[in-house]
Amino acid sequence: MGILHIRKLKHSAGGREILNIDALGVDSGGRLLLLGPSGCGKTTLLSLMAGLMRAQNGDVTFDSTNYAALSSTALDKLRRRSFGFVFQKLHLLGHLSLLENVHLASDRPDDAFIHALLARLGLDGKEKQAAQALSHGEAQRAAIARALAAKPRILFADEPTSALDDANTAAVARLLLDETARSGAALVVATHDARLKPYFDTAWEMAA
């Protein structure tokens, strides 16, 4: 069953149309890969789906709620309640501890759930460590933990495997798939990395 739908979406930037999508959907618990080279608009599409920005034309609906009908604050609350994010550069707040970074995702964190999650991600014992002192691998897993901490309905990931070798790419992909499968969240990944294609039911391939 679809939980997120895009209809007749058009979006331009710098006088150039970068998105023109008639229909696109994400099923509950489904996996969608937005695949394309740099500059093809995949990150813009991810941002529009996640409510990080507003569509210029067309509709984006989540659970039958059209983003266009939501106030800015309502959209903020929807994101907080329903979506998780893994950013390309991870963007942990360096001066906060790992656990504090994870707690940023929720105003009422479920401590038992978070500790179990951190343990599964191999981060137990690192909770109090400053984010800026984590290794890249640890930071990557911490970012995934933050994205999942609030039990989102959809996890959006932007270039989660860029600059990773094959082994680490596979590890991160498995982590994202396993954890979203465990929580029942849908997974939407925007990437130029074709190595991720085999892991996804659906790949939305975009041209530059």
Binding site: S47, L52, D76, R79, R80, F85, F87, H95
Partner: protein, 411 residues
């Protein structure tokens, strides 16, 4: 994670800048507080020394000089007045209480004041040891003099150290006073008779000739406020008067000034005039304090605004995670208020502690410090917190404008 925790962690991540902003604020608050306490101490001291005196009557001259000399013992008298004339006004129906004063000599800079026991009691002075005087040349010492009962000393001419001594007439201290925090602490008090007799006068007409014969030492080269009486009646220096009410406060000075050779000065009026002069200095210090607090607010502004440049990514992440603009505004605002509050607390501690320390070395300031909380401190605190709020408002507004889509620019 609570918003306030996020603010505090952000400040902790910028320790040096935060510390500088706190110190700058603290310095401004400390300065303002010291000025306030000093002003309060001076005003309190003036009020205590004034001790409810409504009118000072003395010889014609500057009213301010008369008030300073007779009430605050901080200037030389304007001259002498006939005791008979003074008595006429002391018994006036509009006078509730009157204290005659005879000045002229000092002991090591402490003025020897001939007066009545009532004068001391007007200042709430109590005996620490001994008793009040019962006969001429017995004296009671104020707390600051360091004299103790049984000590004998001779007065020196004039009101400052250095005059020649009345070796033939020694005073004996028969009592000492507990500290009052007023001018009485700095005086040596004795009967009117003692001072007058020393200068060849007497309150009693028949004593006059004896007095002149006994005291041939008068030395014109020394300042000598209480001159020998000429042609009969004794002279005193001034009278301090408490009137029967506000109307008497207006009428009595007018009567005195119009119908006698004396002058009546209103201490409140004269001190208000003086305050208008030294108030300029106090206001200047107040302005410097306000400037420092303004500078501190600017420091808070610069610290937070500067940090925003490096926190754009953090703020955008928070927006992406669903933080509303209002929350970001609040988080940055808390930072400014917290810095101002820390600076305020440190400034209050330094200002109060520093003033207490200074008061320990300058007893004249001590009672002002002991006066404790002043309403103006609450205003100062409110002003500093408001400055912190104002200083962080612009950066907070800027933070609130962060768009979640800014994450795209920050990839």
């Amino acid at each position: 994670m609570k918003d306030i925790s996020l603010s505090l962690r952000s400040l902790a991540a910028r320790k040096l800048a935060s510390l500088l902003a706190v110190l700058l604020t603290a310095f401004g608050v400390m300065m303002a507080l010291v000025v306030m306490q000093f002003t309060a101490a001076v005003q309190e001291r003036l009020a205590r020394d004034g001790s409810g005196i409504d009118i000072v009557v003395g010889a014609k001259g500057s009213p301010l000089q008369l008030v300073l000399s007779a009430l605050y013992h901080a200037d030389v008298p304007t001259g002498n007045i006939p005791y008979a004339e003074a008595q006429k006004w002391m018994q006036h129906p509009q006078v509730r209480a009157a204290y005659p004063l005879a000045l002229g000599d000092n002991w090591r800079g402490f003025r020897i004041v001939g007066t009545t026991v009532d004068y001391m009691q007007n200042y709430g002075a109590e005996l620490a040891a001994g008793r009040f005087w019962q006969k001429p040349f017995e004296a009671v010492a104020g707390a600051d003099s360091g004299l103790s009962p049984g000590v004998r000393f001779t007065g020196a001419h004039g009101l400052a150290e250095g005059g020649h001594h009345h070796e033939e007439h020694a005073y004996t201290i028969v009592g000492t006073l507990k500290p009052t925090g007023s001018v009485v602490d700095r005086l040596i008090l004795t009967s009117l008779d003692s001072v007058l007799e020393l200068h060849g006068q007497s309150l009693h007409a028949h004593d006059d000739d004896d007095g002149d014969e006994e005291h041939e030492h008068h030395d014109d080269e020394h300042e000598h406020e209480l001159e020998h009486a000429h042609g009969g009646g004794a002279d005193i220096t001034a009278i301090l008067i408490k009137t029967s009410g506000p109307i008497a406060n207006i009428n009595l000075p007018r009567s005195i000034n119009q119908s006698s050779a004396l002058i009546a000065a209103n201490p409140a009026l004269e001190m208000a005039r003086l305050s208008a002069v030294f108030g300029v200095g106090t206001r200047a210090l107040g302005l410097i304090s306000a400037f420092l607090i303004g500078l501190a607010a600017l420091g808070i502004f610069a610290g937070i605004a500067g940090s925003l440049e490096n926190r754009q990514a953090d703020l955008a992440v928070l927006r992406a995670l669903g933080y509303t603009p209002l929350r970001l505004f609040r988080i940055v605002l808390y930072e400014g208020i917290f810095l101002a509050a820390c600076g305020l607390a440190l400034g209050l501690a330094l200002g109060i502690g520093g003033y207490d320390l200074a008061a320990g070395h300058l007893p004249a300031l001590a009672h002002g410090a002991a006066a404790g909380f002043q309403v103006s401190w609450a205003w100062l605190s409110a002003a500093v917190l408001f400055a912190g709020l104002l200083a962080s408002t612009l950066p907070a507004l800027r933070a609130a404008r962060t768009a979640p889509a800014d994450m795209l620019r920050l990839r």
